[in-house]
């Protein structure tokens, strides 16, 4: 495949005795929006820095456009970075910050003028060229940082938690703008975040990271609907994770009852974990549903009520409902077979994909 622009092969990184990256294998295609998602310390920024050239990997290969770039210094790599703290040059004004890279490439004054003006227009900062960095708000500084990186027309733009310092409203706006910008420019974005909502909203493809490893990669829908393990299910969105047993294909037992489901390919009676998303659960009258639970507390979240309830075995159930429930009331919960997602314990992503192959597609 020729449209793979960045590839990591068996990449590892060690600092003394601590292994911060373990056997990372990633392929990044041209023109897509990728996200590295994980909690802090999961190694996502380390991957970004390895691609940007700010650190040397301990093992494995970093490839750009098919060529190994492990030993290419950062200033010769055809990627640009938007830093978490923006890293704007405080002694230069907006124009000079954006023009920084262009001047290094010895372009004519007119070209620089045009390109900088275009880049500032792209991030909606026309008219700000003469401002000092200290005069800008956080959101505006963010845009300057993006303009400074995209003005060089890199094939890959690396974004290291660029929205984490912004307030919630501005963050939402910038998410739309980033996605739009990526589509307009058609360049590859590799975006690092710990915010799963942000990742789901923006990405074509997500790499979920934990503990220096890629736990799962796939489209936002795949990862949300079919998390490969407990970590991914827990980290992405809200979820109810209940221990159970796989009786046979398409039949799972939990809470002492058997339920029809859409999963297969496991050993009979294999211990598994069952994932039910809170928004897939519907409240009905007691005994009318598949499970009876007693409502404990609820929070009004604006667009829905978040209800915490317990079943007879004291498993906690999280339910999202548009209607409020009464505290202490016993209600029934219904869900469809497709809402149940069964996860094997310690199954790797490859094994998961292989198993899916065996029964899906018909």
């Amino acid at each position: 495949m020729s449209n793979i622009i960045v590839e990591l092969k068996h990449v590892g990184k060690r600092y003394g005795d601590t292994q911060v990256l373990k056997d990372i294998n990633i392929e990044i295609e041209q023109g897509k929006f990728y996200t590295l998602l994980g909690p802090s310390g999961s190694g996502k920024t380390t991957i970004l820095r390895a691609i940007a050239g700010f650190l040397d990997v301990s093992e494995g290969e970093v490839l750009f456009d098919g060529k190994k770039i492990n030993d290419v210094p950062a200033n010769q790599r055809k990627v640009n970075t938007v830093f978490q703290d923006y890293a704007l040059f405080p002694h230069l004004n907006v124009f000079d910050n954006v023009a920084f890279g262009l001047r290094l490439h010895r372009m004519s004054k007119e070209t620089i003028q045009t390109k900088v003006t275009d880049a500032l227009k792209m991030v909606r900062l026309q008219g700000y060229a003469d401002r000092e960095i200290s005069e800008l708000s956080g959101g505006q500084q963010q845009r300057v940082a993006i303009a400074r990186a995209i003005v060089l027309e890199p094939q890959v733009l690396l974004l290291d938690e660029p929205l984490s310092a912004l307030d919630a409203k501005l963050r939402k706006d910038m998410q739309y703008e980033l996605r739009e910008l990526q589509e307009r420019l058609g360049i590859t974005f590799l975006f690092v975040t710990h915010d799963q909502e942000e990742a789901l909203a923006l990405s074509d493809e997500i790499f979920v990271m934990n503990d220096g490893q890629v736990q799962q990669s796939g489209t936002p829908v795949d990862i949300y609907d079919e998390p490969v393990n407990h970590f991914v299910a827990d980290f992405i969105g809200e979820s109810n994770i209940i221990p159970g047993h796989m009786i046979k294909d398409f039949l799972v037992e939990f809470n002492g009852k058997q339920f029809e489901c859409a999963d297969a390919g496991m050993r009979p009676n294999e211990p598994v974990e069952v994932v039910l998303r809170p928004e897939d659960l519907d409240i009905t009258a007691a005994d009318a549903g598949k499970v009876n639970v007693e409502v404990d507390t609820q929070l009004f979240r604006g667009d829905y009520y978040e209800i915490v309830a317990y079943d007879q075995l004291q498993n906690e159930w999280l339910i999202h409902s548009t209607n409020p429930a009464k505290d202490g009331e016993t209600v029934g919960l219904t869900f469809d077979p497709e809402d149940i997602h069964v996860m094997r314990l310690n199954e790797s992503e490859e094994e998961f994909d292989a198993r899916l192959e065996t029964y899906e597609g018909d």
């Binding site: 950062a74 830093f83 040059f89 124009f95 920084f100 890279g101 290094l104 900088v116 003469d130 000092e132």
Partner: protein, 274 residues
Amino acid sequence: MKKSTTNVAFYTPYVMWLALFVIAPMVLIVYQSFFDISGHFTLANYQTYFQSGTYIMMTINSVWYAFLITFATLLISYPTAYLLHYAKHKQLWLLLIILPTWINLLLKAYAFIGIFSQDGGVNSFLGMFGIAPQQFLFTDFSFIFVAAYIEIPFMILPIFNAIEELPENLVNASQDLGAKGWQTFTKVVWPLTISGVKSGVQAVFIPSLSLFMLTRLIGGNRVITLGTAIEEHFLTTMNWGMGSTIGVVLIVAMFIIMFLTGERKKKGVRRHEA
């Protein structure tokens, strides 16, 4: 109310110190500069200063030597501070750099007389290679060398602090945008650490203007600076008026240096040079 009285108690000692040992002496110097040797009010001291070529030459000489000392110090200190930033155990290295400042200036000057003398350490080292003893002491070279040696810690510290405060990400950003090592240095590191250089220059240049002990002990009185002249007027010729006048000139020079190296607020809107 309570708070303001405690505040007064806190700043009173310092204000007293300031008044007695900074402001009062300066007022006295200015006052005395208007009296001649027999105690009559006069402007003659200033006339003498500006009309006699000797004093003007002496001033130019002082500024020139202070410049050489500052330049030599900066040349050594900046790379040292830069390397120090990346060194392991930097606190230890820093301590070793600060250590000599705890030793009395006079002791260090005498030590260098020993090192640079005809039968001193440097000449006996050169002697091992069959080089005849050289005259080091009482030369411009030895004067600037020793002065720079003494001033170096005062230059390294502010520069080191400025480099430490420079966010590592700015260096990364510069590389990321394609800058080579020296481009990152000239376009990012140097402009953002210039404040440290300025404080260093202030800390070195101003005291160097009035060095007099070293001019005598190491420079052998071949280098006559304003400091030497003041000492002569107060202790030898007893012309306190003239000494004070030179003192006033030095104070003015200090204010000029402070102004030139001080932080000026950047204008909000700057023209951009594409």
